[in-house]
Subunit: 338 residues, 3 copies
């Protein structure tokens, strides 16, 4: 399963992911996707290993996907419930992680409200010379690598179900629409999609995609950095130029909190200006597809009709891909430690 050259045993950010790594994930996920179509959807790959889901920020969808991925690899899972935790007793996050380390956890899947927590834990695990792998399942407004990799897998398997690979997206136009500023999904996707050679067009209201973001992005992507990947990234404040001839449209979730903090006038206004509808897809490629990381506010980010139209919507495939991609990542992380 392409694990031979894999070295990475933490999954924290896609900023330094190399093309061969993306391809290893895509290929491994394709093998597991095949397993999932069998009646007995399990492999013994991680039997006897312990995967702890430390979700300091609650999430049913993502936690269930990770839990299912772990179970299908025959690992044992531990769920950390923040409400009933020692956190309220004044223990630090690093001490909580060290407790799970001491119990014999092999991989920690961590979601936290604050950016940088998974990296801090990964650094501590390395400093202590453990073999524990840390998996960032979403940290603040920073990154959500498994979401971006399942999006990538969804797109690439659509283009070549047999042999999904990064280069399939070369030259494609992909629009990412919505609250770019606060989105860890957008940040991770920007790294993976630009790495493929696709043109990535970010579009959203000026409050959620400020000019300063452009500078930040360009500084990161066209400036210095370890990777030599040339990246094509564009910013727009109106939907039309972003959708023009787009191959794929990825709508981001709007958090209701943005209204109370006056960054958005109303959901109705948002839908009127940035909502994806059948009409608006007319400007895209005829076989355009729509993605959304979920959960969707129906009639806000995407019209209800479009969401249920299998001709356009890839939303269900994204959820399905999520299990296969997380299986692949857990498997690769585990092999990366050997």
């Amino acid at each position: 399963m392409a694990a031979t050259s894999w070295k990475r045993h933490h999954i924290i950010s896609l900023s330094d992911f190399q093309p061969f790594e993306y391809d290893a994930v895509l290929q491994t996920a394709a093998s597991f996707q095949e397993v999932l179509s069998r009646r007995t959807k399990k492999v013994p790959a991680l039997q006897g290993q312990v995967i702890a889901n430390l979700f300091f920020e609650s999430s049913t969808r993502t936690r269930s996907s990770f839990e299912l991925a772990a179970k299908r690899l025959s690992a044992d899972t531990l769920n950390f419930a923040p409400g009933t935790s020692s956190m309220t007793k004044g223990e630090t996050i690093l001490d909580t992680a060290k407790t799970y380390l001491a119990m014999g956890t092999d991989i920690m899947v961590i979601r936290h409200r604050e950016a940088g927590v998974p990296l801090a834990i990964a650094n501590e695990m390395d400093r202590l010379q453990t073999r524990v792998g840390v998996f960032n399942a979403g940290d603040g407004q920073h990154e959500h690598p498994s979401q971006a990799l399942l999006d990538l897998f969804t797109l690439c398997t659509l283009l070549d179900p047999e042999k999904p690979r990064l280069s399939l997206l070369q030259g494609k136009k992909i629009a990412i629409v919505g609250d770019i500023l606060h989105s860890r999904v957008a940040r991770s996707n920007i790294w993976s999609l630009t790495a493929s050679g696709a043109e990535v067009h970010l579009v959203g209201p000026p409050t959620l995609l400020p000019k300063a973001f452009a500078d930040f992005v360009n500084g990161n992507f066209t400036g210095s950095g370890g990777t030599e990947i040339p990246r094509k990234l564009f910013l727009h404040w109106s939907l039309e130029p972003a959708l023009e001839n787009a191959d794929f449209v990825m709508a981001l979730r709007i958090q209701k909190e943005r209204m109370t903090s006056h960054l958005l006038p109303s959901l109705r206004e948002y839908h009127w200006r940035y909502g994806i509808t059948g009409d608006r897809l007319q400007h895209c490629q005829p076989d355009v597809k729509v993605l959304h990381p979920g959960p969707v506010n129906r009639g806000v980010e995407i019209s209800s009709e479009l969401m249920d139209d299998p001709k356009f919507s890839l939303i269900s495939q994204q959820v399905t891909s999520g299990v296969a991609v997380r299986m692949a990542l857990l498997y690769l992380m585990s092999s990366g430690k050997a």
Copy 2:
């Protein structure tokens, strides 16, 4: 295990259950009951299958019973915790169900405060041409089929442990006592017990068993309908005629909310008029048995002494039957899809 003729792959309501289906459940549950008496209480029947417990309304007892049934069939389970869910993020219930579908769930066990939710999800799963089975674990004041089937199994195994079957209850007199109006347990039991040919006597205070209920019941049971089963159902507002020569007495749980909404004067008054006690059982058959779906308010629906008396109480057997019957239903649903 009698699964050959089983076709049903959703368990939503007992209103259209046929005698051969009741017998298939009883027979299959009897086989599993035998498995549960072994030291290793597991069978590999659903290995690699995924059962999602979507309990939008919380319940420890029923969820644990379903979870244990699933684990003893070697299935993997996912628990949906409403407090930490996407529901608070504005996702619709159908979208939540579709997310679990896309993850690869084989059977969804659904409990919801509102009647009709499991049926709506089952219809959507069929419309999408999936093979997912939907199991109603209690919907509003509508039905709770697995509770009625475990009650049935408890009664029939008492009468013939080797070969429990529906016809054993023919001619028996069964009293159901309490808040009939709001009880999904009563509704499901009415279907199964009358189907057996037993005489079912409903008894409760007029506020919880209004005259209109009689019309509704009679309209449903003696009027038109797909089933040709003749049903014997009687209503009473006082306990005595219902208990007279009864073979079985099923007390329903009183919700404390009924007091605040002025449907009941007090728990003490309720116990005085409708509570089951040793004295009152004198009017029943000498070997009368008492059932209760639990959790019991001791000293309200049943006197504390009676509840702990193994000569009369079947309450523990009901809980034990619950695991075997749910194993049987999950197994049959799964076979019904092939």
Copy 3:
């Protein structure tokens, strides 16, 4: 695994533990500790058995440790979440336990805010002539036997990793520091450590270690009682005499509630008088080690530097020992029923 002479099938208190029982736990835990160092950290010992974690008082750390121990013995686990339970529906604790009994639970692990609940449930299980084992995972301010046994295992494996045994602690000096009065951890440790022949020195502020406690302790330990073990127990209100030449220092957790109830002036004052620091360890044996049941309030019970110093801190080893010791106890309880 030394289980041949084991008879005890409940673990409620260490007050009547015999030396051969301590040694059986230590030896069995050592075998399991070895299993945990393998890549596949599982044994089939309790396959098909059901272990219910009934945590009426919430705890992530202890519940995860028990859950992991159960999974590594290949048992199925059920978690009882108090927030979503029937308890709020007015069911008694004994009725909840009987429900889990009727479902087919083999071992109940019980934590409760009130002392005596696990014993009451164990008595009821015996009265009903069941074979269910009850495991006290912490009851009020009474006992927490698995914590004391994991502390014992941590100390004894340090002294002889190959053959940990009670007698290794004979003549050692062990200081237990902090809120002795309210600590179930202290109470259980007093039984096990004095049974080994160690000198146990209790030290804490007069409000948390009143003179009356001394009478109580002496009455229990040097007076009558079933056990003939001579016990060496000393009380101090200042840290110095307790630490003098100590081989081990066990700091207890300070509950923040003690401040609001005026039993402690401030955390800073507490640390100044009773906090364990590198400086204060100078008075101990040169190879002194520090324990804490966790979670630690850094800088209160123990200085932050000391806590992270592997030369002195046994805190991580305690957590690791926890899984092996709980595996051993579950395994022995299970064998004790045969």
